[in-house]
Amino acid sequence: MSIELELRNGGPRLDFSTSLPVGKITALLGPSGSGKTSILRAIAGLLRLDHERVRIGAETWSDSRQGLHLPARLRQVGFVSQHYALFPHLTVRENVETALLAVPPGDRGERARACLALAQIERLDDRYPREISGGQRQRVALARAIAREPRVLLLDEPFSSVDRTTRGQLYVELLRLHERIAATIVVVTHDLDEAAQLASHLCLLHDGRLLQAGQAREELARPRSEEAARLLDMANVFDGHIELATGRRSVLRWGPHVLRAKHPAAGAVRWGIAPGNVLLVRPDKPWSEQLENPVPGIVMELILLGADALVWLAPEGLPDARVQMRLPLRALARHPLAPGQAVTVCLRGADLMIFADRDSSQGT
């Protein structure tokens, strides 16, 4: 079973069509203005679009062709907005009970307490929203959202207003909660790390369009277009030229370098490689012809960033190009690098991403 979405709109522009797996956490990832929140609000029934079709299993929530638009209150959704939208005049328990008005009054208190316990805030039930911290407010919003036992839980950048430490705790709690309630969760984020840590499925958006969708780990590691590569913070995108060799082989010509690569059509392309896939060839290890796609270069800059080091190389014969390499600090401790040092890196053919949408205006 899946959630089928077809959402199109003229202004603000939206052209989104995909299916989301039921029972999983999906991240809608993209920069500001990419349409993430509009998609979430359309699923919730809070936004009407020129063309919309939202189906969950056999149930249709909206279909503009049939003139069907189920109001938000009749959709089995839980919604946590960016600023939580807690009712300020009600206590924490009353906030949760407000989502339980369909339940007989005698059962509301118990159900509310169970939701608060799931969100680990049962001790705060008599407090008002202004009396609790940002992280606690987020938990209250979550408890209120799950109170109706939603089929889809929609979270709109729910961690953006809390500090990093609290955010880490909330990630764990959300994953724990997901295991217990087994609802489909759609979370909007512009944070790559957040998407990687929380989601098993990912939709990458830009300017109202879906760029790619699939397993989160796979999609984050392998952008399918230059646009996606830039959104996924992949610094290494270059111009190249594919030449078809004998048989089914092809090579990528990049300045003076000839790299083995897989691509079906010859011609000018843009290509990229993730900084983590740029492999440093150990200087003490004599490299033979088995070494795939060696590229010699000079270290231009080195910056330590947490547990990693970012190294920029100028490849031989391409003085204006900069290849970014990400190395764990322990690797740097074993093989120290310094600006000006000559090194060789290996760009494995399987790690090269050849993008179909070459934009010749981009630099080398």
């Binding site: 809070l46 008005l101 209120r144």
Partner: protein, 224 residues
């Protein structure tokens, strides 16, 4: 001290409030949550009593309530007396003259409710009625309170429109403001002074108490 005039003024203020408040809540809510082309004109029309001299409003009301108008004739057939120079006429005039004092604070109060609060109510499964009664009305309560106090205090002190529409009939249309004017004209400064002081005290206490209550309410609801 003209207790009859004071009682009549309090009666007029209470009746005006009872009639106007439900209408003002409906109008304030609609103006806050809707947007349409003629809305600024409608808002301007409701705000006219703020800028027009009371005598101008009083004159138009007098004409509208008089025996020559269809409203005046209809009322006269129904009640057996004219609407002008009657307590009912005073109520109509007072309701119209107080519209901006009642509608505007309520409209602003509904406007300050964040859209995501309304959306959260929908996602909680609340019907329009449930959302209005449980969420929106309590959140707009400081504005409704302010509107009520302004309407009440303004009705107690209104002079121009009351004089034009109601004249000076003891027990029927002679309010405390008219009585003060009447006593001052007759050089009975002691009576005028005591009634003015009473009016001032009632107005000050009402406004101060309501402001204090509204502030406490707002402080309780303000996010940390």
């Amino acid at each position: 001290m003209d207790w009859q005039a004071i009682t009549l003024s309090l009666e007029l203020a209470v009746v005006t409030l009872a009639v106007l408040l439900p209408l003002a809540i409906a109008a304030g809510y609609l103006l806050a949550v809707t947007s349409w082309r003629a809305k600024p004109w409608f808002e301007g029309l409701l705000a006219l009593p703020l800028v027009l001299p009371p005598t101008v409003i009083g004159f138009y009301l007098l004409v509208a309530m008089g025996g020559q108008s269809w409203l005046g004739q209809w009322y006269e057939r129904l009640a057996g007396h004219t609407l002008a120079f009657s307590f009912a006429g005073l109520v109509v005039a007072s309701v119209i003259f107080n519209i901006p004092f009642a509608v505007q604070p309520i409209q602003r109060a509904f406007e300050t409710i964040a859209p995501d609060i309304r959306e959260a109510a929908q996602c909680c499964g609340l019907t329009f009625r449930q959302a209005f009664l449980r969420i929106e009305l309590p959140l707009a309560w400081p504005g409704i309170l302010s509107a009520s106090v302004m309407t009440f205090a303004h009705t107690l002190g209104e002079f121009g429109v009351v004089l034009m529409v109601g004249g000076n009939i003891p027990g029927e249309t002679k309010t405390v403001a008219i009585a003060i004017y009447d006593r001052a004209q007759a050089f009975d400064l002691a009576a005028a002074g005591s009634m003015s002081l009473l009016l001032l005290a009632i107005s000050l206490v009402t406004i101060a108490v309501s402001y204090g209550y509204a502030e406490r309410l707002m402080r309780r609801r303000r996010p940390a």
